[in-house]
C-alpha cells in the first residue's frame, strides 16, 4: 500500500513537467498552423482533419422563375462531376428536371429536384445500419462502406431522391466513390464544398448565366442565400412533413 503511495508521489513532478511540455508544444503547433486555418476560413473551406460544424447549414435556393423548361445544364454538370449518365431506366439520377403544372390556374414551372438535405431525414431514420447519415453541416450522405443495399431509404424518401446502383460501374470519379449494390443520392458535391467550392449544378447554372441555383450557408446571416430566404417567400417541398429541408424553392 505504502509503496503505491510513494510511487504516486514520485510521479507528480514529472507529470507536471510533461503537462507543461505538452502545453508549449500545443501552443507552438497552434502558431504554426494558424495561418493555414485562417486561409481555409477565408476560402470558406475546412481542413481535412477538421470535423464538419453545426454552425453551418449548407443549402440552396432555387429560383424557378429563372429555370427554363428544357434546360438541363445542372443535370449534365452533375452527371459529369459524379460520373453517371442517367440514360437507362435503372440508372441513377441524383438530380432531375421536373416539369410541374398547377391544375387550378394552368401555370407551369420547371425546376431541378434532388436530395433536399432534410434536417430530419426519413432516410436516416429508417437506415438499419446507420449508413444514411446527416453531417453536422446539414449534408445528408450515404456511407458506402456500411450500406447493405436494403433500399429502405428509397422507400422512405418523400422526394424520390435516391437511386440504387443496379450494375457494375466503370470510369468513376475518384472523389465520388460509388458501387454496385449500394444506394446513393446527391452529396451536395461535398468534395467540392469541403474545399471551399460549390456544387457542380449551381456552378454550371451560374456559368451559363441562368443564376437559378444559389448555394450557401443558411445559418450565416450575411450570406446571400440567408438574406434572400429571410426576405422572399420561399417554399419547402412537402413542407407538411415538417422535415425542414435545406433546398428551398422560390416562385412555386
Amino acid at each position: 500500500m505504502s509503496h503505491n503511495v510513494d510511487k504516486t508521489n514520485d510521479d507528480k513532478p514529472s507529470d507536471g513537467s510533461r503537462r507543461q511540455f505538452i502545453g508549449y508544444g500545443a501552443a507552438m503547433a497552434g502558431l504554426a498552423i494558424a495561418p493555414g486555418v485562417t486561409l481555409f476560413d477565408l476560402a470558406h473551406g475546412r481542413a481535412p482533419e477538421e470535423a464538419a460544424s453545426n454552425k453551418v447549414r449548407w443549402g440552396m435556393l432555387i429560383d424557378t422563375g429563372k429555370c427554363a423548361s428544357g434546360c438541363n445544364d445542372c443535370v449534365s454538370a452533375c452527371g459529369k462531376e459524379n460520373g453517371f449518365s442517367g440514360s437507362r431506366e435503372t440508372d441513377s439520377q441524383w438530380i432531375r428536371k421536373v416539369e410541374i403544372k398547377d391544375l387550378r390556374n394552368g401555370q407551369s414551372h420547371s425546376l431541378p429536384m434532388m436530395c433536399q438535405h432534410c434536417e430530419h431525414p426519413p432516410c436516416v431514420d429508417v437506415c438499419p445500419t446507420g449508413a444514411s447519415f446527416k453531417r453536422a453541416d446539414g449534408i445528408v450522405l450515404v456511407d458506402r462502406h456500411i450500406c447493405i443495399g436494403c433500399r429502405y431509404c428509397m422507400m422512405a424518401c418523400p422526394y424520390k431522391a435516391r437511386s440504387f446502383v443496379h450494375e457494375e460501374l466503370h470510369d468513376q470519379n475518384p472523389d465520388v466513390p460509388r458501387g454496385k449494390g449500394c444506394v446513393e443520392s446527391c452529396t451536395l458535391c461535398v468534395h467540392r464544398v469541403d474545399k471551399g467550392g460549390q456544387p457542380a449544378c449551381a456552378e454550371a447554372c451560374s456559368e451559363a448565366g441562368h443564376n437559378a441555383i444559389l448555394f450557401g450557408d443558411l445559418n450565416d446571416q450575411n450570406s446571400e442565400i440567408s438574406k434572400r430566404v429571410t426576405k422572399l417567400a420561399t417554399t419547402q417541398v412537402r413542407a407538411d412533413l415538417g422535415l425542414n429541408v435545406g433546398i428551398r424553392y422560390q416562385g412555386i
Binding site: 439520377q93 416539369e99 443495399g149 422512405a156 424520390k160
Partner: protein, 400 residues
C-alpha cells in the same frame, strides 16, 4: 406389406422429397448468385419499384412464421389440449418459415456479403434494425420453447416459454407491419392500422400453412386426422380469414375518408389494372370469399379436401394481398407536388410498371424450399408428429 418393406419405401420417399426441396433451395441460391454478380439490373426492380417479388415471398414467410406459432400459443398459453399436441410442430414451422423468409430478404440485398455489417451496426431508430433483433430473438425463444415441450425435464417451464414466445411473436409482427406503417412518403403505407392488420394476416396465413403441412404428415404416415379436430381448425381458419377481410375493409375505408388519399384508393380499387385485378379477384374472391364459403359450407365444409383447398386459396390470396400492398403501393406515384401535374425523366407523376423476372421468382421459391426442407428433415429426426390420445379426441367431439 411387411413393416421392413414399408420402412424401405418410406426411407426412399423421404430422400426423394428432401432431394427435391434441396434442389429448389439450390436453384434459389443460384438465382441469388446470378442477381448479385450481375446486379439488380437482371431483375424487374428499378429505382421506382425498389422492392419486388422476393420481398413478397419474404414478407409472406415472415408473417406466416409468426402466425403459425399461434397453434402453440393456443395450446400452452390458453391451455387447449388439442393445440398442445400440435405445439412442437407449430414451433418448428415458425423457425423454418422465418429462416426461409430471412434468407430471401438477405439474398436480395444489394450487398448480401455485408450481412456482418447488418449484425454489428445498429441504428436503433430503424424498424429494420429492431427487426434484426426481434428475428434473432424469435429463433432463440422458439427453440427454447420447443425444448421445454419435447424434454420431459423441462416441461414445467413450457408455459412460461410459451407465454414469452406469444408476446415476442406479437412484437415481431407489429414490427413487420411497421416497416410499412412508418413510411410517411407513400400513400399506401403511413398507417398505424398496418401493424394490427399484419398480426391478423399472420393468424390466417400461419394456420393455413399449418393445416397443409399437418395433413401432408398425416397422409405420409398413413394416419387420419380426427374429424372433430379438423372441424375446429377449419372454423378457426374461416374466422381468421374473415378478420383479415374486416381489417382490409377498415384500411381502405380510412384511406377513403381522407380526400388526399382518394386518388390512391381509386388506383387500387378501380383503375390499377393488374393491381385492381389482384385485389378483387386474387385477394378478395379467391383468397377470402371462396375459402370462407367453402370452410363454412354445412356439408362439404368438414371434408379434408375442402379444408386443404381453402387453405391453399388463403395462401394464394395472401400472396396477392402482399403483392398489391408492396408493389401496388410503390407503383402509385409519390405526391411530391400536391395538386400539380408532374412529369420528369425519373417518371415523376407516372404509374410505375413492374415485370418480375425469373431469378426473382426462383429466389422467392428457393426460400420456400429452404423452409420446407428444414421442416422435412426436422420431422424425420425428431418427433414432431401431432398425436392426439383418444381421451382428448373424444372430449373435442363432445364439445363440438
Amino acid at each position: 406389406m411387411n413393416i421392413d418393406a414399408f420402412r424401405k419405401i418410406e426411407g426412399r420417399a423421404f430422400y426423394a422429397l428432401a432431394g427435391l426441396l434441396g434442389l429448389v433451395a439450390l436453384i434459389g441460391l443460384g438465382a441469388a448468385h446470378y442477381m448479385e454478380t450481375h446486379g439488380h439490373v437482371v431483375t424487374g426492380m428499378n429505382n421506382q419499384i425498389v422492392w419486388g417479388l422476393p420481398h413478397v415471398f419474404a414478407i409472406f414467410m415472415i408473417v406466416a412464421a409468426s402466425g403459425v406459432l399461434n397453434i402453440a400459443s393456443i395450446g400452452s398459453v390458453f391451455g387447449k389440449p388439442v393445440y398442445k399436441a400440435r405445439a412442437p410442430l407449430s414451433g418448428l414451422l415458425a423457425i423454418a418459415l422465418l429462416a426461409g423468409g430471412l434468407t430471401v430478404l438477405m439474398l436480395d440485398l444489394g450487398r448480401p456479403d455485408r450481412l456482418i455489417v447488418a449484425m454489428t451496426h445498429f441504428n436503433f431508430k430503424s424498424i429494420f434494425a429492431l427487426n434484426v433483433i426481434l428475428y434473432t430473438g424469435f429463433f432463440a425463444i422458439v427453440a427454447i420453447y420447443i425444448w421445454t415441450m419435447m424434454d420431459r425435464k423441462m416441461y414445467a417451464y413450457s408455459k412460461y416459454a410459451g407465454f414469452s414466445a406469444f408476446i415476442w411473436r406479437l412484437a415481431l409482427t407489429t414490427a413487420t407491419g411497421s416497416i410499412f406503417g412508418f413510411l410517411v412518403a407513400r400513400q399506401a403505407y403511413n398507417s398505424a392500422i398496418l401493424a394490427p392488420m399484419f398480426i391478423i394476416m399472420s393468424f390466417s396465413f400461419g394456420l393455413a400453412v399449418f393445416i397443409l403441412v399437418q395433413s401432408f404428415m398425416y397422409a405420409w404416415n398413413g394416419m387420419k386426422l380426427d374429424p372433430a379436430i379438423l372441424r375446429r381448425m377449419k372454423n378457426l381458419l374461416a374466422t381468421f380469414a374473415g378478420a383479415v377481410l374486416y381489417f382490409t375493409i377498415v384500411y381502405h375505408l380510412t384511406n377513403l375518408y381522407f380526400a388526399k388519399q382518394a386518388s390512391f384508393e381509386r388506383f387500387i380499387l378501380l383503375d390499377g389494372g393488374v393491381f385492381t385485378n389482384l385485389f378483387w379477384v386474387g385477394h378478395i374472391l379467391i383468397g377470402t370469399l371462396i375459402p370462407i364459403g367453402l370452410l363454412l359450407h354445412p356439408t362439404i365444409g368438414a371434408k379434408l379436401k375442402t379444408v386443404l383447398l381453402a387453405s391453399s386459396l388463403i395462401i394464394l390470396g395472401g400472396f396477392a394481398q402482399l403483392y398489391v400492398l408492396l408493389i401496388g403501393g410503390q407503383a402509385f406515384p409519390l405526391d411530391i407536388f400536391p395538386g400539380m401535374q408532374v412529369s420528369s425523366s425519373f417518371f415523376d407523376g407516372a404509374i410505375q410498371h413492374y415485370s418480375p423476372t425469373l431469378p426473382e421468382f426462383l429466389l422467392g421459391l428457393g426460400g420456400l424450399g429452404i423452409a420446407l426442407l428444414i421442416t422435412t428433415i426436422a420431422v424425420r429426426v425428431l418427433n414432431f408428429l401431432p398425436r392426439d390420445d383418444a381421451h382428448h379426441s373424444s372430449k373435442v367431439a363432445a364439445t363440438d
